[in-house]
């Protein structure tokens, strides 16, 4: 090998490393968005808290690994999500200043929720569904942050994630995020049929926001590719359970909700009973408890969106 080839090779390697470095850099929100953040309203934030299902992972689990409804305000973390990539442990997001997020600024919180980047500039694993939360409004983020601040401080750090190589290399998530993180809506208004009546349209858009954003329904109800990214071509069509046994039902036309009316869906989210009076089960029990805490119009909005999903 000649000297010049060696030099060229070296330059190439350095260039590739630099490219990888830049491509995997944790990103944060633009300064102008962070500057526009104003303190939120804790009372409004309570509804965002339930819409977002925070407690279904971050609540304090009992001895059986279930978060009882009375522990939903104790955000100690500790729930284990056993997945194909390894075991993720939900962290403490209580208002504790050392073990939780009590020392965070609103900008720290907005970056975590919308960009999946921690206050110390590291990538979060997408077991934390920022891929959905990225679609939330800054107003909801601020309100939620204000509400979390009113919940008790719970001491104690949750255990670390247990992940195998290469998934234990956090930096690699920078590339994953480039492929999978977007704040754009999943289903266009056109694909939802763009209803002419303003009232109907506004209900549908509210439903889209709740399902695609805070509700993060797609994180379980949509199949994932080999790298764990959501397959948007099969949006809400059902999937293998990401943790535990069983299959998650499909919500889009041609799957498990075909016999359900919008009223049936809203009633299920309120009561936990299907039209056949089967009861909610598995992880959906906790989700349904959250949905029951929303305004009736929000459950109707979710139902309207699900019924308007395009078939394939």
């Amino acid at each position: 090998m000649s000297r010049s080839t060696l030099a060229l090779g070296l330059v190439l390697v350095v260039a590739l490393l630099a490219l990888a470095w830049v491509a995997t850099l944790p990103r944060t929100l633009p300064d102008e968005e962070l500057a526009a953040l104003v303190p939120g309203d804790a009372a409004r934030g309570e509804a965002v808290f339930f819409a977002g299902g925070c407690a279904s992972c971050h609540g304090q689990p009992d001895g059986k690994g279930v978060i009882p409804v009375q522990n939903k305000h104790l955000l100690s973390g500790g729930l284990k999500l056993v997945t194909d990539f390894g075991t993720f442990v939900a962290p403490n997001i209580s208002s504790d200043k050392t073990d939780g997020i009590g020392a965070w600024s609103l900008a720290d919180f907005a970056n975590a929720m919308l960009t999946g980047t921690s206050p110390d500039g590291r990538h979060y694993y997408p077991a934390f569904p920022y891929t959905s939360y990225a679609r939330m409004t800054l107003g909801d983020i601020s309100d939620l942050f204000a509400y979390l601040g009113t919940l008790p401080a719970v001491a104690g750090r949750a255990a670390d994630h247990e992940l195998a190589f290469p998934f234990n290399l956090r930096r690699g998530l920078g590339l994953w995020k480039r492929l999978n993180l977007s704040s754009d809506p999943v289903v266009s208004v056109e694909a939802l049929g763009r209803p002419a009546e303003e009232e109907v349209l506004s209900l549908l858009l509210r439903g889209r926001y709740l399902v695609e954003g805070p509700g993060h329904c797609g994180e379980c109800h949509t199949p994932r590719d080999a790298l764990g990214g959501l397959d948007y071509g099969q949006w809400l069509s059902g999937a293998a359970a990401p943790t535990g046994e069983g299959k998650i039902p499909g919500l889009s036309p041609g799957h498990d909700l075909d016999g359900w009316s919008a009223e049936d869906i809203a009633y299920y989210l309120e009561s936990g009973f299907t039209p056949d009076y089967d009861s909610v089960g598995g992880e959906m029990v906790s989700v349904q408890e959250n949905m029951a805490r929303l305004e009736p119009r929000d459950r109707q909005a979710i139902a309207a969106y699900i019924k308007a999903l395009p078939g394939r």
């Binding site: 059986k64 279930v66 359970a241 535990g244 046994e245 069983g246 299959k247 998650i248 039902p249 936990g272 009973f273 056949d276 009076y277 089967d278 009861s279 909610v280 089960g281 598995g282 992880e283 959906m284 029990v285 906790s286 349904q288």
Partner: protein, 149 residues
């Protein structure tokens, strides 16, 4: 009224089917028991929502189905019946005591509803709601842990 009677008859017929299968396949047996619960819950829900006119006899039929299920369902999960066409979670066999406690909650709630029903069944739909509400409240707790969704 016709629908009420039809639904009550269905609930009773399902219970009859349970008895006939009891000696056979445990998976089929426990499914039949839970189908009778679903039938009774469907009738209860329809009456509580006013889709079907309430009658004390229909109310009592539903509560009787819950009660019978609460007393029998837990007996049909022997070792080896984890496999096959079932949505029973592995957790049942890992945590038998917890599962039995969950089924006992159904039996207790349904037993109390039977007591409240008296000879003729709950007198009106409000009394029925009060009796059956706690029974329906036990479904989710068990399904959260011991059923694969």
């Amino acid at each position: 009224m016709v629908r009420t009677i039809a639904a009550s008859t269905l609930a009773l017929a399902l219970l009859g089917a349970v008895a006939a299968q009891a000696a056979g396949d445990p998976v089929a047996t426990r499914k039949a028991i839970m189908q009778s619960v679903a039938g009774a819950a469907g009738l209860s829900g329809a009456m509580m929502k006013g889709e079907v006119a309430y009658s004390p006899a229909a109310g009592k039929a539903a509560i009787s189905s819950f009660n019978a299920a609460g007393h029998t369902f837990g007996d049909y999960f022997p070792e080896g019946s984890q496999a096959g066409d079932t949505t029973a979670a592995a957790k049942i066999w890992e945590d038998r005591a917890g599962f039995e406690a969950a089924v006992a909650k159904l039996a207790d709630a349904a037993g109390a509803a039977m007591q409240a029903s008296g000879k003729d069944g709950p007198a009106d739909v409000e009394a029925f709601k009060a009796a059956v509400g706690p029974v329906l409240g036990t479904c989710r707790d068990c399904h959260q842990v011991y059923r694969t969704r």
